[in-house]
Structures are given as structure tokens and as C-alpha cells.
């Protein structure tokens, strides 16, 4: 019976110990009128058959191994060193539970502590938690922290429209039961236009870095203006870009959140991903979710433990600021191994490869008839291309040539009809980029 080891004679012996005549008897408290319903499911399958079926289903997808990938928009196709997956496949890591018993969970605890430390290094923050579900929910939780810091006396939250559209949707889902207003993202203005909205009712102002269009905005003056109004400055950052660009901490951020999927987590059709959350020391006690700290054991040996536990839902119950329990622990381990392998020099080189590939692609596309690339601001590995025809049409033509093209911005931004967000990473060889340019050239 699949993963159930009992023999019939064992089951009988166990029932005798219990004093029950049958397993069914154990369910006598379930209302008889509803007990043991039929189940309309497919019949059982052997492991061999299941493996074949999963392979067949997976092959009915257009994936990054068969296609040249130029799509990002919040999910990125990066090289992942083999060692990452081999560590993730250690049963000691992936079949363990949350480290509530620290004496026998030091592996998970130390790896998570190291993850927190490396996220602090990237973001320029003082503390990071053990993870949120994804970049979007990290932003939603940052809103909660900002409201708490303002003791719920400030009820306005300002978002740039250049934050990932789905992140803004999720923040609105999270806070629909609260008496607050999220504003600023309906127009198409620049960040400076947001500064006029700051007032003494503003709990936070959030921007994305690089923004959803791949561009690097000037942030230091934004931070100053937010702080002058007494609001928190929250930056949604792609950690891969932080390999090259100034850390948000250096630019004045109070909270840095985002999606750490680029750090060792595969595309995986959108999840499980890794929401990271990093914060300045003065707000650390407001952080939601698990956080690992250093301490000593009874013999004075250094060890790690989940700390600031009284904030969490299992202790604080209805007075907790978030209900988060399960997080994305294994993905944090992936990021930990990835960042350790890449290290100071490797990550910088990956960042440079992304930069050079994207700039090469942008320059060549910009020279094509009918296409133009927005180069008004510096960018990292994504850029906006104005196209001579609907993006859907262009992508259909690219797909014919084995290329997954850019993201159709018209789906979210009315003023960006026929605009495509193109991403190039270290995984895109020059030959792939040249092929992309060639096919686009035929569509001009």
C-alpha cells in the first residue's frame, strides 16, 4: 500500500491492543449519516506510472531548457550551481520541521542565520527575518510594520506605480479589512510626483529598485523627503541587482523587501519562491515571522535559536501583527547556499554578466526599424521596448523560433500598449540574443 507499511497481522495486533474490532470502529464519533463517502478520484498508480505521467505533463509546457528565455517581470531565469540542488536534497534539511526544538535543529537554524546575515549584507540593513512567502507578501507585511510603527495613527500608504503590479494587488488584498488608503500608483508619474503626497498622515512610501521597468531611480532624495514627513521609506529590491548597485540601506531605506527567487530558486511556474524582509535595528522588534538569533547553550557553546518569539501568532494569538507560521524555509536555504557559493566575487560577476547582456540586447534592438528602447534612465537586466505591433503578435512569432519573448506591459499599464519588458540574464548567450534581434528585425 504505497507509503503505508502495515501488514494485515500487524494491524490486527494493534487493534487488539486498542480493544477495537476494526479500524472503522475508531470513527464512531463521526456522524453516521456522513461517514465513509465515496470518492470520485482516478484509480491508484504505481511509482513507475506516476513518474511517467509527471514527465508527460511537464513536457506539455514551454520551458527554459527548450526555449531561449527573455522574460522576467518578477521571475528570473538564472544559472543555479549544481551544489545548491544537492544540498536541498539532503533529507536532513527538507524533511525537517520548523526548528522549535533547537537542540536537534542547529543545521536549519545556523543556515537560516547565515541567510539572514547575507541578506543584511546585500541590502545594507541590520536584521532580516527567516522569510515571507514571496516578494508580494513581504511588501504587504512591510505595510503592517509601517502602520504599527506609526501606532496606527497614520493611515496613508504611498506606492509607486513602478512596483510590480501583482505586489500592489497583494498588498491591497492584505489590507482590505483595515481603515487605510493605498495611493500613488494609479497614474504614470515619476517618483518625485509621489513626494507631493507625503504628509503627517503617511505611514510609508514604497518604491521598487530596479523598478518594474528595470530602471534605477534616484532614491536618496526620496528617502529624505519620506523621513522629513515622518514616514518610513520602503524599497522593494531585486537582490540580484544589489550585486552591483548601491544597497537600499546606503540610500536611506528603513525596510527592504523583495523576491529572492533570483538567488538560487528555479522559475518553477511561480513558486515556491522566497520573500525576504530586512529592516533597520530600531524597528527589529516589529518584524513579523521567524527570526533566528545567536545564543549559548548550557555549556557555553555558541548556538542558534528562534528568538523574539512572543511576537508570533502561537503565543500572541489575536494580538499578533501577522498570522504567518509556515514560511519558505527551504528556499532560504537555497539562497544561503547560492550566496555562499557565489560569494563576494562571483555574485558581482553574475551581476556584470546580466548588465552587459541586457545592454547589448537593448542596443541592438534599439537600432531596429520600428523598435525603440527607453534609455532615459540606467537599467540592470530588464528594459522596455516600444514595438511596432501588438506584443502578443511578436511573441507568437518569437515562439515559432524557439524564443520566449518579453512581458506584455499593456496587460497592466494602459499607456504601455505594444510595449514589451525584455529581460536578459547570464543564461542568455550572444547567439540567443542575436537570434532574438534577427527575428524582431523581421517584424519591424
Amino acid at each position: 500500500m504505497s507509503y503505508i507499511p502495515h501488514t494485515d497481522s500487524e494491524a490486527e495486533a494493534m487493534l487488539a491492543e486498542i480493544g477495537a474490532g476494526s479500524i472503522e470502529e475508531l470513527f464512531e464519533a463521526v456522524p453516521a449519516s456522513h461517514r465513509f463517502p465515496g470518492l470520485n478520484l482516478p484509480p491508484p498508480m504505481s511509482e513507475m506510472e506516476v513518474a511517467a505521467e509527471m514527465l508527460a505533463i511537464s513536457e506539455a509546457n514551454d520551458h527554459g531548457q527548450d526555449f531561449a528565455m527573455f522574460r522576467g517581470a518578477g521571475a528570473y531565469h538564472h544559472f543555479i550551481p549544481s551544489a545548491v540542488n544537492h544540498i536541498l536534497l539532503r533529507g536532513e534539511f527538507y524533511t525537517a520541521y520548523t526548528p522549535y526544538q533547537p537542540e536537534i535543529s542547529q543545521g536549519t537554524l545556523q543556515a537560516t542565520y547565515e541567510y539572514q546575515s547575507m541578506m543584511c549584507a546585500l541590502t545594507g540593513m541590520d536584521a532580516a527575518n527567516a522569510s515571507h512567502y514571496d516578494g508580494a507578501t513581504s511588501l504587504a507585511e512591510a505595510v503592517t510594520v509601517a502602520l504599527e510603527v506609526a501606532r496606527h495613527r497614520r493611515r496613508k500608504v504611498i506606492f509607486s506605480h513602478a512596483i510590480h503590479p501583482q505586489y500592489r494587488e497583494v498588498a491591497r488584498t492584505y489590507h482590505q479589512g483595515r481603515d487605510i488608503r493605498i495611493i500613488g500608483d494609479r497614474g504614470r508619474g515619476e517618483i518625485v510626483d509621489l513626494l507631493e503626497m507625503l504628509d503627517d498622515n503617511t505611514a510609508m512610501l514604497a518604491v521598487q529598485y530596479p523598478n518594474f521597468f528595470g530602471q534605477i531611480d534616484e532614491l536618496a532624495t526620496v528617502a529624505e523627503a519620506a523621513h522629513a514627513a515622518g514616514a518610513l521609506f520602503v524599497v522593494v529590491a531585486n537582490p540580484m541587482a544589489l550585486s552591483l548597485f548601491k544597497s537600499p540601506g546606503e540610500l536611506g531605506a528603513d525596510i527592504v523587501v523583495g523576491e529572492a527567487q533570483p538567488m538560487g530558486v528555479p522559475l518553477g511556474f511561480g513558486g515556491p519562491y522566497l520573500g525576504y524582509f530586512a529592516i533597520r535595528q530600531n524597528y527589529v522588534r516589529r518584524i513579523a515571522g521567524r527570526i533566528i538569533g545567536e545564543t549559548l547553550d548550557a555549556d557555553g557553546k555558541r548556538a542558534f535559536v528562534m528568538t523574539l518569539r512572543p511576537r508570533e501568532q502561537d503565543i500572541k494569538r489575536e494580538r499578533a501583527s501577522s498570522n504567518i507560521c509556515t514560511n519558505q524555509g527551504l528556499m532560504a536555504l537555497a539562497a544561503s547556499v547560492y550566496m555562499a557559493l557565489m560569494g563576494k566575487n562571483g555574485l558581482r560577476r553574475v551581476g556584470e554578466l546580466n548588465y552587459h547582456k541586457a545592454h547589448y540586447a537593448a542596443e541592438r534592438i534599439h537600432r531596429l526599424d520600428g523598435f525603440s528602447v527607453d534609455t532615459s534612465k540606467p537599467f540592470f537586466n530588464e528594459f522596455v521596448v516600444a514595438c511596432p505591433r501588438p506584443v502578443a503578435e511578436i511573441n507568437a512569432a518569437l515562439l515559432e523560433e524557439g524564443i520566449i519573448g518579453g512581458y506584455d506591459l499593456g496587460q497592466h499599464y494602459y499607456h504601455l500598449d505594444s510595449h514589451m519588458l525584455v529581460c536578459a540574464t547570464e543564461t542568455n548567450g550572444k547567439d540567443e540574443i542575436d537570434r532574438l534581434v534577427e527575428v524582431l528585425g523581421g517584424l519591424g
Partner: protein, 496 residues
């Protein structure tokens, strides 16, 4: 694990200039870097590949895991995580599939999600399922937001109370607060059921019009089927409230009873408990939500639907849709797909005739442990349990020994401890959930360890009070951790 050595921090090994990865040279012309925007320093470790691998392998040895042995952590359903599912998740067609792939290009993934939605709905008797919530707590949040929106749409926005039994998981009351609603706690009676007197008082009193619903775990967090569950549901629904079932304990219900048929309006599933997706040292999980027809329009989106019916020579076309009155997105993209595909493979293996056996043997194992352990430890409720049961970590003649000490001592015997001090309503609670994947010999060995510990408690209590003795570390100074708050070991950064 016992002999494993503590490890230095990743920042304390390595040498300047070392890297654990070999990257290609750029094959495109170099573009000028914007030096004024760039950071001066990237304070990450500098470690070689071999060192990194050894570091994490050695860390792994400091963990206890299901792959090592029995993990009877109540309410967490620590069952075996099938290896074939891990292989499936790593197929390039899943692992390298972009979430914003055009629908034509991800029909395999959409088909899988559509099947899983249907199967989960079938197993629990619900009309519609959304797979988007990332964890149980997020499923709860989605459920309570749906209930809130439902009442508002009917012009009953004043309904802002959610009833929660005092035995509930902490996520339940925390969820209610996040949704901007208020918790009314209900006591348990002497049998561990919801106190019906208190429930009737709440639902029939002057606050009747403010009852938005009730969250309840079935079987309860004590591992007991509430014999009065139908009356509970009727009472709340008569008052105009909606019934939310916390599905954390679904491992006790599959093929035994469908919550939707009992009358529940909405529930969440924990794919990482019931459907075997790995816990990963704390996550990821997946907290799909199922609803009846009343709440279906409010589901978080997107969900997968057939957008073009099957024709003579072509299969149906699947696509993402937002339910008509959706509460919105719970996360970016479409949920933890990697967990969906593992749950799909898991249900596929058991199929129609096998899924019920999961529950049958989970409940058999729990009752077997209960029957054997009640000779040594007090068991508060004299009736069959579901997939888990609670006992009191109290040993006559050893008053200074607590549930925590028993738990720590179990580590020396090679077992992960049960959940301690939950549910809050049982003193010295030890909540034990063996799951169906455990073999009788290991259950017997666990019982022997628990009996031996009870003996030690009387004869050498100090051994328990100072346990564990063979784990990689001894008990930790948690007060120091919270007071000194050392949360980061990265080198200091340039001043802000």
C-alpha cells in the same frame, strides 16, 4: 546526528579572492558601468565549492528529520515525503517554467492544477478550490476575508465577530485580527468539545447580528472528533454566520467524512501536512482553500478553469481566471506550484481506493500509541482519538519533571519530541501524531522510550531536567538570545 560537530559560520571560513563558482567570460561587448550608482563593497563570504558543500552537509547532520526517524509532532503531520515527488518537481518542464508563460505554453501545468483543484474539492466535498494561498495561515486569511466580503455584499457588514474555540491554533485568532475583525473565544467542555452552552449563548444573545462566523479545527486540536459538530454548524449558521474549517487535521478525515457535506462553508488544506509535501525546515507549504457555492465567487485568484471545451480532435484549453467577486490575489503568480505538483503525484499514487487508507492507518497508529501510553501517562479524554492525541506530561512521584523535560529527554532516545504545551487547555500537554507511514516496530520503540523516561523521572529526575545529553547542543539560553539580539554576522557595512 548525535556525534555531529558544531560548525563555524560561513563568514569565518574561506579566504580573500576565493569563489565557489566558475562563471563564463562575457561573450558580448562590454557596456560602461554606471560607477556613480554602484556599491563599493559586497560583503559576502569568499569560500570554495568544496568548503561550501562540506559546510552545509555538516550543518545538515545537526538536524533531526523524518528521513532519520519517527517525528510525532502533533498538529504537524510529519509523514514520509515520497522521493519520486522530488524527482518530478525537478523536471525541466516544471522547474524551468516561467510563471508568466502564455497559456498555450503551460497547458501541462494548468491541467495539473485543474485536476488538483477538482480532487481536493472531491476529497472534502467542496464546490470550488483555489490553490493560490502559500501556507495554511494564508488559506485561513483568504477564508476569513471571503466571509467578510460575503456579509458586506449582503448588506450585513456589521457582522464582525468570529468565534474561535480556546483550543485553536494561534493562527486562527491572528487571522481574524489581520482581516480587521474581532475574536470571540469559546471555552471547551469537559469532553474537549466546544462548550455548547457558551456557543448558544453567543449565537442567540444580543450579539447575534454581529456573528460573522466561526473557525474550528476538525478533528479538534486535541485530536477528537466533536460529537456535536452538526449542532455547532447549525447553531452558527442559524445566527447568520459562516463556518470555517481549519483543515490542519485533514489527515484524520480523508474518505471518512467530507467537511463540505457536514455543512462547512470554507476550509483550507495543508498540502505540506495531509498531502506529503516536505516541510523543508519551516516551509514552503501550500494552503489551498475549498468553498461551497455561496463563497465560490469570492475565492482568491487566479484559479484554473477550462476556457475552451474539448473538441473532437483537441483537448480542452485551460486558462487562469479571476473569480467574479474575488477577494484578490494572496501572492504573486499562482501559488506554490512546486507543492501542487507533489500533492498531485501523491493523490495519484493512492487514488480512489487508497486515499481512505491514509486516514485509516493514521488513526490506527494514533490509537495504538494512545492505548499503550495511557498505562504510563494521564490521557485526559476517555475516547478514541483521531490521527493524534494529547497526553499530560505529568508523572506521579516526579512533580518537578515537566512536559518540556520529557521532550528533551526523548532526543537522547533518538526521537523527535511531540508538540509540547499545545493545545493550551491541557496542562503539560504533549500532542502526539505518529502518521500512517510509521511502522509498528518504531511505534513500540517510542512507547518503550516513554516508559523508560517515566521510570527515570522517579529514580533520577536530574537526568531529565538537564536533558538532552547526546544532542549537538544542550538547552539554550533563550533569554540571552532575545536580550542581546545577535541576528546578523555579516561584516559591518558603510554607515547609513
Amino acid at each position: 546526528m548525535a556525534s555531529a560537530e558544531l560548525q563555524p559560520l560561513i563568514y569565518d571560513i574561506g579566504a580573500a579572492g576565493r569563489s565557489g563558482v566558475n562563471l563564463p567570460e562575457p561573450d558580448v561587448p562590454l557596456s560602461p558601468l554606471p560607477t556613480d550608482l554602484m556599491r563599493a563593497d559586497l560583503p559576502l563570504p569568499e569560500v570554495g565549492e568544496v568548503q561550501v558543500v562540506r559546510h552545509f552537509v555538516k550543518l545538515s547532520k545537526l538536524n533531526y528529520s523524518i528521513d532519520e526517524g519517527l517525528y510525532p509532532l502533533g498538529s504537524c503531520t510529519m509523514k514520509y515525503n515520497p522521493k519520486v515527488n522530488e524527482d518530478a518537481a525537478r523536471l525541466p518542464g516544471f522547474a524551468q517554467l516561467h510563471p508568466l508563460t502564455d497559456e498555450d505554453g503551460c497547458q501541462g501545468a494548468l491541467f495539473l492544477m485543474h485536476e488538483l483543484q477538482r480532487w481536493l474539492g472531491e476529497i472534502s466535498g467542496f464546490e470550488a478550490v483555489s490553490l493560490t494561498p502559500a501556507a495554511g495561515a494564508q488559506g485561513e486569511f483568504a477564508g476569513i476575508l471571503m466571509i467578510r466580503r460575503y456579509h458586506i455584499d449582503r448588506g450585513e457588514g456589521q457582522r464582525d465577530f468570529i468565534l474561535v474555540p480556546n483550543s485553536a491554533h494561534g493562527t486562527n485568532p491572528a487571522t481574524v485580527t489581520m482581516a480587521g475583525m474581532e475574536v470571540r473565544e469559546l471555552p471547551a467542555d469537559s469532553q474537549g468539545n466546544v462548550d455548547m452552552h457558551a456557543l448558544h449563548a453567543a449565537c442567540e444573545g444580543e450579539l447575534r447580528d454581529r456573528i460573522a462566523g466561526m473557525m474550528i479545527t476538525v478533528p479538534s486540536t486535541l485530536g477528537l472528533f466533536e460529537s456535536t459538530i452538526l449542532e455547532v454548524i447549525d447553531t452558527v449558521q442559524d445566527a447568520g454566520g459562516m463556518m470555517y474549517m481549519d483543515g490542519a487535521n485533514m489527515n484524520a478525515l480523508m474518505g471518512v467524512v467530507k467537511p463540505g457535506e457536514l455543512g462547512f462553508d470554507v476550509m483550507h488544506y495543508n498540502l505540506h501536512k495531509t498531502f506529503s509535501t516536505p516541510h523543508g525546515g519551516g516551509g514552503p507549504g501550500s494552503g489551498a482553500v475549498g468553498v461551497n457555492a455561496k463563497l465560490a465567487p469570492y475565492l482568491p485568484g487566479p484559479i484554473v478553469a477550462i476556457v475552451e471545451e474539448e473538441a473532437d480532435d483537441s483537448p480542452p484549453l485551460y486558462g487562469f481566471v479571476m473569480p467574479q467577486k474575488s477577494i484578490g490575489r494572496m501572492k504573486a503568480f499562482h501559488g506554490n506550484f512546486g507543492m501542487h505538483l507533489r500533492a498531485y503525484a501523491y493523490i495519484r499514487v493512492y487514488g480512489d481506493s487508497g486515499i481512505r487508507d491514509v486516514t485509516r492507518y493514521a488513526v490506527l497508529n494514533a490509537n495504538y500509541l494512545r492505548a499503550k501510553l495511557m498505562r504510563t501517562y494521564p490521557v485526559p479524554y476517555p475516547r478514541y482519538c483521531g490521527h493524534e492525541f494529547v497526553l499530560e506530561g505529568h508523572i506521579d512521584g516526579a512533580d518537578e519533571v515537566h512536559a518540556l523535560d520529557i521532550s528533551k529527554r526523548l532526543m537522547d532516545y533518538g526521537f523527535h519530541p511531540p508538540t509540547n504545551y499545545f493545545p493550551l487547555i491541557v496542562p503539560e500537554a504533549l500532542l502526539i501524531e505518529p502518521t500512517e507511514t510509521e511502522v509498528k516496530e518504531d511505534l513500540d520503540a517510542f512507547v518503550e522510550a516513554m516508559e523508560s523516561i517515566a521510570d527515570e523521572a522517579r529514580t533520577e529526575p536530574e537526568t531529565l531536567l538537564t536533558a538532552p545529553h547526546t544532542a549537538p547542543v544542550r538547552r539554550l539560553d533563550e533569554v540571552r538570545a532575545a536580550r542581546e539580539l545577535v541576528l546578523c554576522c555579516a561584516p559591518a557595512m558603510p554607515a547609513h
